[in-house]
Symmetry: D2
Subunit: 297 residues, 4 copies
Amino acid sequence: MHLGLVGLGRMGANMRARMRERGIEVTGYDRNPEVSDVDSLEALVAALPSPRVVWVMVPSGEITRGVVEQLSTLLGEGDLVVEGGNSHFTDDAAHAELLAARGIRYVDVGVSGGVWGLTNGYGLMAGGTEDDVAALMPVFDALRPDGERANGFVHAGSVGAGHYAKMVHNGIEYGLMQAYAEGYELLTAQDIVTDVTGTLRAWTQGTVVRSWLLDLLVEALEQDPQLATIDDFVEDSGEGRWTVDEAIDQAVPLPVISAALFARFSSRQVDSPAMKAVAALRQQFGGHAVRAAQPPA
Amino acid sequence: MHLGLVGLGRMGANMRARMRERGIEVTGYDRNPEVSDVDSLEALVAALPSPRVVWVMVPSGEITRGVVEQLSTLLGEGDLVVEGGNSHFTDDAAHAELLAARGIRYVDVGVSGGVWGLTNGYGLMAGGTEDDVAALMPVFDALRPDGERANGFVHAGSVGAGHYAKMVHNGIEYGLMQAYAEGYELLTAQDIVTDVTGTLRAWTQGTVVRSWLLDLLVEALEQDPQLATIDDFVEDSGEGRWTVDEAIDQAVPLPVISAALFARFSSRQVDSPAMKAVAALRQQFGGHAVRAAQPPA
Amino acid sequence: MHLGLVGLGRMGANMRARMRERGIEVTGYDRNPEVSDVDSLEALVAALPSPRVVWVMVPSGEITRGVVEQLSTLLGEGDLVVEGGNSHFTDDAAHAELLAARGIRYVDVGVSGGVWGLTNGYGLMAGGTEDDVAALMPVFDALRPDGERANGFVHAGSVGAGHYAKMVHNGIEYGLMQAYAEGYELLTAQDIVTDVTGTLRAWTQGTVVRSWLLDLLVEALEQDPQLATIDDFVEDSGEGRWTVDEAIDQAVPLPVISAALFARFSSRQVDSPAMKAVAALRQQFGGHAVRAAQPPA
Amino acid sequence: MHLGLVGLGRMGANMRARMRERGIEVTGYDRNPEVSDVDSLEALVAALPSPRVVWVMVPSGEITRGVVEQLSTLLGEGDLVVEGGNSHFTDDAAHAELLAARGIRYVDVGVSGGVWGLTNGYGLMAGGTEDDVAALMPVFDALRPDGERANGFVHAGSVGAGHYAKMVHNGIEYGLMQAYAEGYELLTAQDIVTDVTGTLRAWTQGTVVRSWLLDLLVEALEQDPQLATIDDFVEDSGEGRWTVDEAIDQAVPLPVISAALFARFSSRQVDSPAMKAVAALRQQFGGHAVRAAQPPA
């Protein structure tokens, strides 16, 4: 199997390496010539045997859209585009339609595993037709973790299902991280439990809460026991928002996942207008003292 | 009616003034001689006709407990203690028992209205026997808002019920304040609605969300349109915590009131260990950049 | 002033009545001939003096869109459409653009007050140009509560601002209702407070939590003290969802308003897949008994 | 090493089996003679070499208290009681004090692992003095998972720390379970992802959300793909409540863990007074239809 891979950032470069290790021939293209195997998307396409398979692994939104549009002009009948970025699932129908007009097939894949996927393998969720997914099976087998295929790969449904599944995966991830974080904070808030890192590490085997995220939290704490070097400022990259938006559309209650999302929003606020308003209200009705706003540092 | 009043702080002093305006004779005692009518609790008790009625309006917890204990030695058979502070409802049984051993009667009262009670009257929730509450009716009528007695006063149940009702009142108050505050923040977060204060003011009549708290928020914004002088740091004085604790004991879900309580806790954190942990986790699995902890200002 | 009013349902019919009482001439059109003043939209337009002013008060979404489209063909240069339904604020730009192509002016208005608006007046939030809003001032003055204009009316910003403000108003409303409801539930969950309705009624004057919603809750409880005739099934009509969606777009944390929304979603579930999953997990790890699913009634 | 074990229920019996397999001599006592090795607590104590070590593994609260009290009269100077049940951490100080008065040592241990501990080993968190914990190390090593001691065992602090750590562990567990459950529900709410069980199974390797709880959820779904046999009724056994109570005492925000706890409370309600109140309010202000209460089945 010979695959074209567009996008050789943190995820793409590792995926290329893993696929090559496992016998997939990969020609990679990136705007950065230092990591790219070819000079252009045209050159990438030219390098591939027919039917050509191109895996797109670039930032979601406009950049992905742009690459898909370019590929729609460069590829042809029977070729296959795999979109593996963190795209919103509603983008997939548009991509598939655009490509289908040229006879180009389309599969969307949610990819989980972060920087560890290179060694551990990636969890993969694919959306598309039976035939298109089957055609990609050697690639999926190279990328997924060793062991049973079903533990690490699913054909989740038709086009869009891969990204839908990945979106929900990430929503769950927000909830899990916040649950551990809240427990960690409570452990640090008192002085009964004196070995916080040891306690979390003791949970990594045998307990109900053992997980890969817990292993990583222990790792972080062993590197920096008070997390003293890390600011309490947490980005979000979209999937958590999409999960809550989608749940609202489906009237599915998500109290935990939404709370985790909002905690991130709050973490990034220097000043909360809402809490200023609550302080102002307490002052108004009760004459409670407010703390004067701090001058900017 | 002649009442003894212990505690002449923000609440007590205003209550004394309102009762006097409405024909209740009040002898007040406070540790601060500048506001006190008498020199000591002994002098207060000596000044009252029998059966003596003493209203306690001091900070809850140990201070209230101390005053009740003193009164248990100074008062006697048939006298009546009214405990109107923000005490936890479980304190009332202990107070009542202590006093009952000496034949002293006990009524607990939840008092709402803050600094505005002087002019508007106070919302009152009483706990005690029919007879004891009836004996205090002239006092309650002086303190409650004008108009129908039932709009401003309730005999909520036996001893403890007044403070229980006040606790729930304050729990609701947390939720209401946070709801307005969240809406206010959303109004400030975008530039479609350009007159935020005017919008809130327009809501003060006719709308579903009109309330006294909304009036106060408009007041605060008219004084300081960006709330620029007020820090986003919000204290909590106990009743919100008690409400959530009690709901947990009763297996009653309180998602909104608890969220409002937790928002206050978060508002007081300079640094959130939980969010540091989430940031650390994202770095571990995804290689996501973390923001380096800021050196203390 | 002579106004055309499209839509004479619960809200529209009351608004017609209030405007007529206050000297505004109103010609109303509704598909239901029993309440309609004219036979058709064409007839409505024909009945109005130039420049014609037509207030649209029909269900949001496709129905509103359809009426606006029809009006774009029936009205002309200098006429003015007022859209007062519960539309999403993003619909307004499209409406305004469609009408502007024909020289027709557009103002969006958020209207609050429910069935009580007829007697109390409606809280109004308008979005549009200074001139267009000024032209409608006699109508707004008829609809808003008596008293100061600013307490009941705001020109919130340009087109879309009226519906944006109304969306946030309703989001807050969700939070307020849930806060009272949680407190009410806690009062019913124990037997210390024996007069629950009386307690809520006592809060209607003097207290910090007094509000119109509280008055209504007392009303409901006086009609049906256990709410025994009312099912715990709560609809949502869109604005709560929009508020949370918009907050997510703006990265504004809304823990209380979202919790209130999710409580409604949960209230409508006969069976919660999430809680089945939690029960299944407890059984798996702990051998905890699960309750067998109940056969459908 | 020869240990006495009181309580041979689901947890105790498995722990006895695991310890015996690993060379610890165990004499077990249970009120149920079918599983008990001896006839009475007295007989258990008599069977043990000095200094005697007795591990208590019975339901928390009064039953544990009763056993500890009995042991305080049966054991003596230098003996050691290990309390491994799911007790509240504040019980430990009382137990330790009672026993210390007789010269009996005390260690509390949080034990996680459920029915799987027999084969996988148990995660253990111990509270007590260095010497007392050291004396129990052979027992801990038999019970904990194989591999590095620190992955499965921690000496968390002095008396009470074991149960404190276990409390937090279980609080986190609530949050984790709810996060998976919410994601699962969203997957079932739409028809884009058609293979829900397969999707969850694909997440068990390589992904960020992989964990033992996820493995168990997949197990449950493979046994019953719709969870059709399981009711959406979820018990809570105390540690989640304690975690939130303790966080409130420490002013630590726990939005996720509390939301998970409240979701369980809601799951057990046949009828929600809060949501009846919200429905009643909507009817009052908006004339919105309510659903009539259903007659009991």
